[in-house]
Structures are given as structure tokens and as C-alpha cells.
Amino acid sequence: MKREGQTRIPSGCAVTAVISKSGERMSGGSIVESMIPMHDRSNGLGGGFAAYGIYPEHRDFYALHLFYDDEGCRRECEEYLRERFEIVDAETIPTRTMREITDEPLIWRYFVFPRRSALRSLQIDDREYIVRATMKINSTINGAYVFSCGKNMGVFKAVGYPEDVGRYYRLDEYEGYLWTAHGRYPTNTPGWWGGAHPFALLDYSVVHNGEISSYDANRRFIEMFGYKCNLQTDTEVITYIIDYLLRRQGLTLTETAAVIAAPFWDTISHRPEGERETLTYLRTVFSSLLVTGPFSIILGFEGGLMALNDRLKLRSMVVGEHGDRVYIASEEAAIRKMDPGAEDIWAPAGGEPVIVRVKEGRY
């Protein structure tokens, strides 16, 4: 069977997120539990989590999480990293041996910073440097795969049911102010760890439920700007679109949502004048980044998250609150599992972004 990257693999899914608006750090145990009532939304071929605020001791360094097929590609990749980065720490990611999780690759993490001389000669900033290095490793070093590369955050994913994946990575031993989770229901993957979700680039991580119909239009457009869609998954291309719009174009989150899940022309025509112009401009300029077909995505980033449904709301997604916590999930049951006292549970409209930020200075 062909794996992610060799063919396009559609999948259904479950997503969950929890964030503390005051920046309080929470153990990963609870979000792992949240996936249990949504067990049937996954099929055991992929689960994963993104956690923010988990590496405060290394907060100024990029945390690279890598899968290696074998020691050979690890040595090759580490040689590549040593040439280009200052590496302050390198270790295997702690895991638990479990019957449910098998065929593990080598799983490493590195805390790094780009060499200053390299940044100067390339005339780019450290974030762009990380993006390029990630693209390079993933497309040229056979058997090595960077699946997380942000600061003070990390992605943990594997082939298996998400609740097992969470226990496998001992997520109850980490504490973060924002967690997102994903359970995958792919239709034809042989089960490759790199193909599980979340998908992340820098501090952006995306969990996504759906199968977008715009995939190839989006992919062929975004690849003009140096991104390589190695996995051929929706989540990957959505992450690149978000990175391009937020980081490279400098759009706001709301503007980004108005590109990805653009309001219908008819809706735009009824908006007040200034807003109408802005929305028309965004739809015209970034028309190839409109995403159609069903999706509910949760974008995590340093200090917050954005949840967004496709404009027809073809996928379920609900939001609930309790105290300083905001919960988002494919199903209400997942929120109830995390916090039986969650209130004001509501379903955002299609294309209506839900943006939650941690108070400035608290993350």
C-alpha cells in the first residue's frame, strides 16, 4: 500500500481542544480522556496531540520532534542539524511500552537555534530558516521526518487510537496552557506515524476533521511559495495556507478565516461598506486559498487558538466554557468528559471563526 505522500488519503476524524485563558498549565491527562467517548470517530490508524507551554525551560529554542525509520537516517539527519543549528539538548522522547502501540520508529527531540551566520548570509529570519530546514529534511532525508518544530510546544502522534497514543507518550506528565487532540479515520493508509495528526509548522498546529474538495487547487497554489505537500493530506495543506497567510502575508486571524472560509458573495454584498470592500479584496486576491468541502479545524498557535468550520458547516463542532477554560470538540460528549460543568455549549456557524487568546504575558 502507498503511504501518505505517495498517494492522497482522505479521512474522517475527531478533534478536541482545551485552553486556559489565564495561561494556567494543565496536565495532558484530561484531553487524552476526552477522546474516549469519540472512540468510534477514529479507526486506530492515527491519533495525536499538540501541547503548548510544555517546554518552559527551553522556551527560546525550537523544539524539533522527529521520527526516524532507522539509525542510519538519524545519523544523516543529525549531521545535517549540527551543520545548521546550535543544539542545546537532544534526547529520545519518553514513551510507555504498550500492547496497543506497535511498529514504533525512533522518536527524538532536539532543542535548537539556527546558526546566526547562516541567517545573516541567507537574509532571512529564524522562523523562515526553520521552515526551510523542515521542508528540506522531510523531502530529502529518506526515513527522517520532522513532525513538530515550534517553540515551547510540541506534537505527539502515532498510529493507534488517540487515547492509547496519549498514554503511550505519557502526556499526563506534561503541563500546557493549550492542548489539541486528534483521532483519525483514514480510508486507505497503511498506517504511517508521520501521517497521523496534528500537523504542525513552527508554532502553528492544525487538527482537522473533514475531507476538503479544494485540495489540489489549494496545493498547487501554495506550492508556488516554497511549501512542499509531502503528505498529500488536507491538514498539511491547511497548515501551509495558514502559515502563508498569517506569517508571510501578515493577515490577522479574522482575515485568514475570511480567506479560508470566505463568506458567500451574496453575504458579502449585505455587509457594511468598509467590511464589504475588505472581504471582496481578500476573496479576489486569495481566491485559490478558499477551502471548500467539509472541515472543522482547530489551529493552535503560541498564546491561543482559532476554531473554524467550512462555510456550509458540513462537519460538527461545538464550543463550551467554564471559568477560564474554553473547550472545543467534534462532539459535546468530549467536552463533558473533560469538564462535566462546562456551560454555554454552542455550535459556531459555518465560516465563523472562534478565536481564543491567553491573556498577554501569561504564556
Binding site: S213, A217, R220, M224, Q249, E255, T278, T284, T292, L312
Partner: protein, 501 residues
């Protein structure tokens, strides 16, 4: 007679038990096929003049007429086919270049018919256009590479002029002269009602049609017929015609018989003179010259109008498109080798140029590889025959399609391919007042609007089936296509997988 004789291509079959000798056929046939024999009280036919335009057949009140292909042909020969033999006889008789009209009729591959479209099943839902919004609006023109913000932090509109289309189809260039006043009026009114554009072609713009300017694309071709400041200012966009799919490498041909009255005035050339545009633009011998013309036209119109550069699909079209994209043009129009014409040398029409499907795929791929796809819009023509051709073209990477033959068919054209004679019985490709008046522009407009409305419905159905609710996300979405009956190479150029993959 004798060696010069070529047996007529068609036979007029008249059912004498039905014919009432009402002489409608006689009055309707500009070619003079039918005559009345007062002695016998019967209609006679001279089938040697028949072009099989079906006018008499369509108007015969008793359905007494049919036109059939003659079975009197030279002895069968797979190598020397009847058409080839007849062409040799014609040339031996006349010593001239053979002229033809409309698109290449040869049995060369039609790739549209080897491409199949996807639909959603189970893993994502199809969308019902009768119950959900389904968008077909597109904007053509250059898109800025970087957003800009004003001092208040709000997005600044740094878009250059765009063409807004209610659906991704426009009426392609057909000059006033090659087609009639009433045909032009039908196209102009239909484009206005539909919220799309029609194209003047290279013959200038009749003064009566300036009112349709907001839905008009004015063309500047190598002959510069009818080009002046008011003309350039009249349209919504300006198209530089570098080439035409039916006759790449040569200029327009309009026989002097069609240069009469208003046509002569609009073109600004004497009556009866053949309008043969030069093969190249004599101020464009290279890409940097094109850039100068693009900017001259922009200067002349205060940068208020997008500039389209239209080229014929030829072998190195991808490199040409890349050059045009860097020339300052806002839109590239590519015309495939099956594109129509009012008159072209037969050898060129039937043998020069490449299929639009391959040219489109190659250009779209090339522009993306160079990262400049968003600097231009791509419009393709050269035999777009249906809504599914449009959908396939958009999925291969086009922003919009140009149609012309399909539009003429809606006006009554029966594809008899003798436009160059100027005797069009349907009032389309003629300047004879008695023929022109047969085309009622009001009815013509309605039929064009009907055709486009029907296509728009079909486009929406196809989009919905794919789970797409906006035409933008179909553009370049090649995963929605699969090929059948194609070689690896053909699939590679089209950038699509084979059915079953």
C-alpha cells in the same frame, strides 16, 4: 467541364409528394441552389452551389427537403481520400491557396473527451445546488503579491483593474465584418445581460455599440483596424491579438466582399478592399516589444483597464506564456488549434498549432513552477463545446473560457464552414442586408442568454457533485480529473492520473 469538373459534395433531395412549390427555399438560398420552373410548376435544384447550411431544410414548411452527402466519390483509397483528391483538383484549376472557415474538422484527438470528472461518495458530501449556494463568479486580472495596509492598519486595495464575470465564460473575438451587425448586437446585449464580456475582434467597434462598453473587450490586432483613442477607452479591457488558434503565424483575413458600408467605416479602410492583417505585429518582433505595446495601451487608458494578450497554442506555448506573464499583461488568452475562424488558409487551419487542453495544462504548470501564476489570469478557447468542457478547462488550470463557435451555433449557425463566401443564409457571417436581417438580435440575445444560463446550471451541478461550492476551488484542481485512452506522456503533460488510479 471535363477535367475541371468536381462532382457536387451534397445532393438536394426533394420529396415531390410533399413539395408545394411555395418557393421559400428559393428565396432563402443565397447560393442560388433552388429555382422555380414555371412551365412544369416544380422546383429545381443546382446542387453544385449547395453548402449544406440547412437553411432551406429548416424553413421548408412541408419538410420536403433534405440535404445528403453525395455518394458519387472517387474510388475509395485510404491514403488518397476524397477530400484530398478534390483539393488537388481545385488547386489545379485555380492555382490558389485553399480557404476554409470555422474550426479544424479533422479527426485529431479531442482530449476533453478523454477526461472524466470526479464526484463525491461517502467520505465527503456532494452539495445540492438547488438547496445550497453555488458560486460561479470569477475575477480576471493580476493579483498583488503582497498585501498592504494603510496607517489605520486596514487593508489597502492595491488591486489593479479586474474583469468581473458572473460565470467563467466569455464570448471570444469575432470581428464586425466577419460577422454581421445583428450578430454583434446579439453578443453585446447577451454579454451585458449575463454579466460577462464579448470581444470586438479586430474590426473596430461600431458606434452603435459603444453603449455596451462595460461588457466589451476591444481588440488590437496587427492590422490595427478601427483602433483609435475612443475605441480603446470604450471597452472594459483591451486585448492584443498576437495569434489565433485557427491560423497561428498569420494575420486575419476578411475578403473585400464583406468590407462594405459601416464595416469599411468602422475598420477605417476603403470599401471592397481585402483586409489582410500582417502576419506579425510590425512593432512586435520580440517579447520586449510586446511589453512596450502592453504599456503603451495602459498609458493610453490611464492604467484603468486590464490588458489581455491572446496567442495561438503553438509548440513552445509554455515559454511564451511565461514571457507574456512577465510583460505586464494582466490576462493571457490561449486559443487552441481547433478554434474557429471566418476565413483561413486550409493547410494552416488543419495542420498548425496544438490542442488547447495540452497547451493549457503546460502553461498553468509552467507558470506555477515559476511562481507567477497569480500574476496573470488564463483564459482558454479553441473549441470549448459544453459546460463539461468548461469544467475540465477550469480544473486543468484556466480562470475562464472563451467561446465563439458555440455562441454562433446558438444564433443559428449550422457549421457549413463557408463563412468566407459572405453568403451566410443565417444572417451571421454576412454583410448583405437582406441576409443580415434574418438574424433578429432580440431573439439572438435570448438564445445566447439561454445557452449560458443552461451551462451555468450544468457547471453548478458538476461542481456540487464534486463537493465544491465555488468555482475558485475548482481552478487548477486536477485531482478532480482522470484520463482514459491516453499515454503516460499525455497524462504527464495534462498533470492528471489515469482512471482507476
Amino acid at each position: 467541364m471535363g477535367v475541371e469538373f468536381i462532382y457536387p459534395e451534397f445532393e438536394v433531395v426533394r420529396n415531390s409528394s410533399r413539395c408545394i412549390a411555395c418557393r421559400v427555399c428559393e428565396r432563402q438560398c443565397s447560393n442560388g441552389v433552388h429555382t422555380y420552373d414555371p412551365d412544369g410548376g416544380v422546383m429545381l435544384s443546382d446542387e453544385s452551389k449547395c453548402v449544406n447550411c440547412q437553411r432551406c431544410v429548416s424553413l421548408c414548411p412541408t419538410r420536403a427537403l433534405k440535404i445528403v452527402k453525395s455518394d458519387c466519390v472517387p474510388r475509395e483509397n485510404a491514403n488518397w481520400q476524397a477530400d484530398t483528391i478534390k483539393e488537388i483538383y481545385k488547386q489545379a484549376n485555380s492555382g490558389g491557396v485553399l480557404l476554409s472557415s470555422m474550426g479544424n474538422p479533422k479527426p485529431l484527438p479531442v482530449y476533453w473527451d478523454r477526461i472524466l470528472i470526479n464526484a463525491s461518495q461517502v467520505t465527503n458530501p456532494s452539495i445540492d445546488p438547488l438547496r445550497e449556494p453555488m458560486e460561479t463568479r470569477v475575477f480576471l486580472g493580476k493579483k498583488p503579491r503582497k498585501i498592504e495596509r494603510g496607517e489605520d492598519g486596514r487593508l489597502r486595495n492595491n488591486l489593479t483593474p479586474q474583469l468581473e464575470l458572473s460565470m467563467p465564460v466569455m464570448f471570444s473575438a469575432m470581428s464586425y465584418g466577419s460577422i454581421s451587425y445583428n450578430a454583434h448586437k446579439s453578443l453585446a446585449e447577451a454579454a451585458t445581460e449575463l454579466g460577462i464580456y464579448y470581444n470586438t475582434g479586430e474590426g473596430g467597434l461600431h458606434e452603435d455599440f459603444y453603449v455596451y462598453g462595460p461588457n466589451t473587450i476591444v481588440q488590437v490586432a496587427s492590422g490595427r483596424f478601427g483602433v483609435h483613442a475612443d475605441y480603446l477607452g470604450a471597452g472594459a479591457a483591451i486585448e492584443i491579438k498576437m495569434g489565433q488558434g485557427a491560423k497561428p503565424g498569420i494575420g486575419g483575413h476578411l475578403p473585400g466582399t464583406k468590407i462594405v458600408g459601416d464595416v469599411s467605416r468602422t475598420r477605417m479602410i476603403p470599401e471592397g478592399s481585402d483586409a489582410i492583417s500582417p502576419a506579425p505585429h510590425h512593432d512586435i518582433y520580440s517579447i520586449e516589444d510586446l511589453r512596450q505595446l502592453v504599456y503603451s495601451l495602459k498609458e493610453a487608458t490611464q492604467y484603468k483597464k486590464p490588458v489581455i494578450v491572446k496567442v495561438a497554442a503553438v509548440h513552445n506555448i509554455a515559454a511564451i506564456a511565461s514571457g507574456i506573464a512577465r510583460s505586464g499583461a494582466d490576462i493571457i488568452a490561449i486559443d487552441g488549434f481547433r478554434g474557429g475562424t471566418g476565413a483561413a488558409p486550409t493547410r494552416i487551419r488543419d495542420n498548425v498549432g496544438i490542442p488547447i487542453e495540452l497547451a493549457l495544462a503546460a502553461c498553468d504548470t509552467r507558470l506555477r513552477e515559476e511562481g507567477i501564476r497569480n500574476d496573470v489570469s488564463l483564459v482558454v478557447g479553441g473549441s470549448i463545446r459544453s459546460a463539461s468542457d468548461v469544467v475540465k478547462a477550469i480544473a486543468l488550470g484556466a480562470d475562464a473560457c472563451y467561446i465563439a463557435t458555440a455562441a454562433l451555433l446558438a444564433l443559428g449557425c449550422h457549421l457549413c464552414r463557408t463563412c468566407h463566401t459572405g453568403l451566410c443564409n443565417w444572417g451571421i457571417a454576412t454583410q448583405r442586408p437582406e441576409l443580415v436581417k434574418r438574424l433578429n438580435p432580440e431573439i439572438g440575445k435570448t438564445r445566447l442568454v439561454n445557452l449560458m444560463t443552461a451551462w451555468r446550471h450544468e457547471i453548478k451541478e458538476l461542481l456540487g457533485g464534486m463537493g465544491i461550492n465555488s468555482i475558485e476551488t475548482l481552478r487548477g484542481n486536477r485531482l478532480m480529473l482522470r484520463g482514459v485512452n491516453m499515454t503516460e506522456k499525455e497524462l504527464e503533460i495534462l498533470g492528471i492520473s489515469h482512471a482507476g488510479e
